[in-house]
């Protein structure tokens, strides 16, 4: 019950995230998926004059917006929480965190006023390229791709990727090589996820991608995954709130946090680098990190090296398990490498969509029949169900089914996704069937009755088939919508097409090719469906005589 309640709070928070950022659990996942998918809509609302076309330009990375020079706009995601950026629990309209203090430090150095812009974690880089903010500062990792496609500051913090396992496994599961046949979770779009993908091939483990950094740990404790690979800052933060797991001492990889700017902003980046180096020299960065309890000797070494002008690798993997960057291969090679994964993800999408729709149609028909023929109490219950489902976001329902009910029923991710989407769409389908049933002319039913057919026969032989013909067009519409809504299930760690595309795009540093491929694959799935529905409609109008 407590878990259920928590999940409910989380979803409300997505809806009113600005207002409720203070109490919101860091369910980054929810926001990430929605914002990623409906980026166009959000942009249009925020800046009406840019309209939908801007989306295309977003993909091609060409909309610089002139910065107001007196203001230093920095982007972060308060859902990421402490110690990076979070709303002050005592004063929710105030932000705190080491990234906040670093942003203030930089703004002071530039002689500007800092202005915070809330951007979903997984969208920060695209927003920076768009020009929504001058810099992204939110525990962003240094990667070869980012160095090649963006203006990246000097690293200001060095972290270690560490494995967390259940207390009982602490003695046996120590390194990635110990995880053959087991699953390891992490945040998607991160170095850790890249490392896990390599380890999949190398060691035969299974990588599970999450959109937030809370659920990997709760799923670890209840046994859905066998380990979590994330940086030690995140691991130690979760360790304080989620009991039952142990952080292994071995370092799987070393990475760095950086600020990211758009490539056009390289001069600003250079000034910021000077400010950061100054802060490393005079100890102000050390003071900030000590305040947040994340200072250690790694930082002293990092700063010393940087101040001596030594180059710093974006990240290193001591165990030798290097991840290959897509930046080093040709675009065509990158497509060839990712296409199998995209096709696999398409199969997941189409399978999930077809099965969910089938279940939704079945339940929808039962609900509609109950609402038309049932006794008043049954009708009231069914109406309640429909209103509850229609009135709450699918994302919340998915969370409740997968995470909220985990204490009672531990559904596998795919089953939870299927059930969540099906139960949601069943409500919408039932409304279509109910109105279609009611649209069948009374004369048709009376004709059936005078011929001696009973109520059930009138329903199954006359009313149902006629209603189905009326419902076909809206049903097709819903199925196409479901196909795309199925992308939401990535929050339950199901690797479907949109999520796979997002990972591809992050690794490639561009949305053009992955976005085009993804759109083409969705169209390949939806167009034949629409064509089949049209053919069926034509057939009903004039049967092959």
């Amino acid at each position: 019950m407590a878990q259920l309640f928590r999940a409910a709070i989380a979803a409300v928070a997505q809806l009113f995230r600005a207002a409720i950022a203070a109490v919101a659990q860091p369910f980054r996942a929810a926001i990430a998926a929605v914002a990623q998918l409906f980026r166009a809509a959000i942009a249009a609302v925020a800046q009406p004059f840019r309209a939908a076309i801007v989306v295309c330009f977003t993909l091609t990375s060409v909309t610089p917006v002139s910065a107001q020079p007196r203001v230093f706009r920095w982007a972060g995601d308060p859902e990421g929480g402490a110690p990076f950026v979070e709303a002050d629990p005592r004063q929710p309209d105030r932000l705190i965190g080491f990234d906040v203090e670093i942003a203030n430090l930089i703004a002071r150095g530039l002689g500007r006023t800092p202005e915070f812009i809330t951007i979903t974690f997984t969208s920060i880089v695209q927003s920076i390229v768009r020009g929504d903010a001058d810099i992204g500062l939110s525990g962003l990792e240094d990667t070869p791709t980012r160095r090649a496609t963006l203006a990246v500051t000097v690293p200001y913090y060095e972290f270690r990727e560490v494995l967390s396992v259940r207390d009982a496994d602490a003695a046996t599961l120590r390194t990635l090589a110990d995880f053959r046949g087991r699953s390891v979770g992490t945040l998607s779009d991160t170095i850790a996820y890249d490392i896990l993908l390599r380890a999949e091939r190398e060691y035969g483990l299974r990588a599970v991608s999450y959109d937030d950094d809370v659920h990997p740990y709760t799923d670890l404790v209840i046994g859905r995954v066998d380990a979590v690979l994330l940086d030690q800052v995140l691991a130690e933060r979760r360790h304080r709130s989620v009991p039952g797991f142990t952080i292994q001492p071995d370092t799987v990889a070393i990475g760095h946090y950086v600020g990211v700017l758009s490539p056009q902003n390289a001069p600003l980046r250079d000034s910021i680098d000077d400010i950061l180096r100054g802060a490393m020299r005079d100890g102000s960065l050390e003071r900030i990190f000590r305040r947040w309890n994340v200072w250690n000797d790694d930082q002293s070494r990092l700063y010393a090296g940087l101040l001596q002008g030594k180059p710093v690798q974006p990240f290193t993997v001591p165990g030798g398990l290097e991840t290959s960057s897509l930046m080093t291969v040709s675009r065509w090679e990158a497509v060839k490498r990712y296409l199998p994964a995209l096709l696999r993800a398409s199969v997941v999408t189409i399978l999930l969509s077809c099965l969910s729709m089938a279940v939704a149609v079945l339940i929808g028909v039962l609900i509609a029949t109950g609402r038309v023929y049932g006794a008043p109490p049954l009708r009231a219950i069914l109406l309640g169900y429909v209103e509850l489902i229609r009135g709450t976001p699918l994302l919340l329902q998915l969370f409740v089914i997968y995470y909220g009910l985990a204490a009672a029923i531990r559904l596998p991710a795919f089953a939870a996704a299927l059930l969540g989407v099906a139960l949601n769409y069943a409500a919408y389908e039932s409304e279509i069937y109910r109105s279609a049933l009611e649209a069948v002319p009374a004369g048709q039913l009376e004709a059936g009755r005078t011929l001696g057919l009973n109520t059930r026969q009138v329903l199954t032989l006359i009313r149902g088939p006629q209603a189905f013909r009326l419902a076909l067009a809206p049903m097709t519409n819903d199925f196409v919508a479901l196909l795309k809504d199925s992308s939401l299930v990535s929050v339950l760690t199901v690797m479907e097409l949109t999520k796979q595309t997002q990972i591809f795009a992050t690794n490639l540093g561009s949305w053009i090719i992955p976005g085009t491929l993804c759109a083409a694959l969705y169209l390949l799935m939806s167009l034949p469906l629409a064509a089949a529905a049209r053919r069926l409609e034509r057939h009903w109008k004039t049967p092959a005589a």
């Binding site: 002319p441 004369g443 048709q444 009376e446 004709a447 059936g448 009755r449 005078t450 011929l451 001696g452 057919l453 009973n454 026969q457 032989l461 006359i462 088939p465 006629q466 013909r469 009903w540 109008k541 004039t542 049967p543 005589a545």
Partner: protein, 204 residues
Amino acid sequence: MSDVVLRVDDLHLRRGARAVLAGVSLAVARGELVAIMGPSGSGKTTVLRAIAGLERYERGHVAVTGRVGMVFQFHYLFEHLTAMQNICLAPVHAHGMSPDEARRRALELLSAFGVDHRAEALPRQLSGGEAQRVAIARALAVDPPVLLMDEPTASLDPARRSELGELLHGLLRQNRALLMATHDEDFARTWATRVLRMENGVLR
């Protein structure tokens, strides 16, 4: 009147404050084609619907020997089924006839009414006259002794009306009882064996 197969006694039916039927009594015997005539709203159609079991009445009694068949003014052929399927639906599903037998009988009816060439057409592809014949065939497919018809000439031109009259008389020769509600004075005078006048819910 030993051949009476339909008897209606003192039927009363109200809609709100309005008395639609205020004590209707009638009897129809085999071989009779009875026409109920009267202005719109006089209750003609309601009498037929009450007999067919489509209206609840407060008082009175309807007695039918066997089933009644009903042919609606707008036919109400099942829109998703062909003429043939319309006719076979009830015999197969409500009366347990084998599909082959139902089909054979349907073809007989369709050819008797001269529309066997339209067996595979959908209702929307039929003309008014064709649709009416299919509707009569559908009602007769379960072999009711009583056939009710609401405004059967409404969608027919004069030539088709006399064809319908011939067709109905053919049914009388099969010893059925026919009761129709109509506005069509000429048709009633020419083809009905008896004409009843209805006004304000009572037969005069």
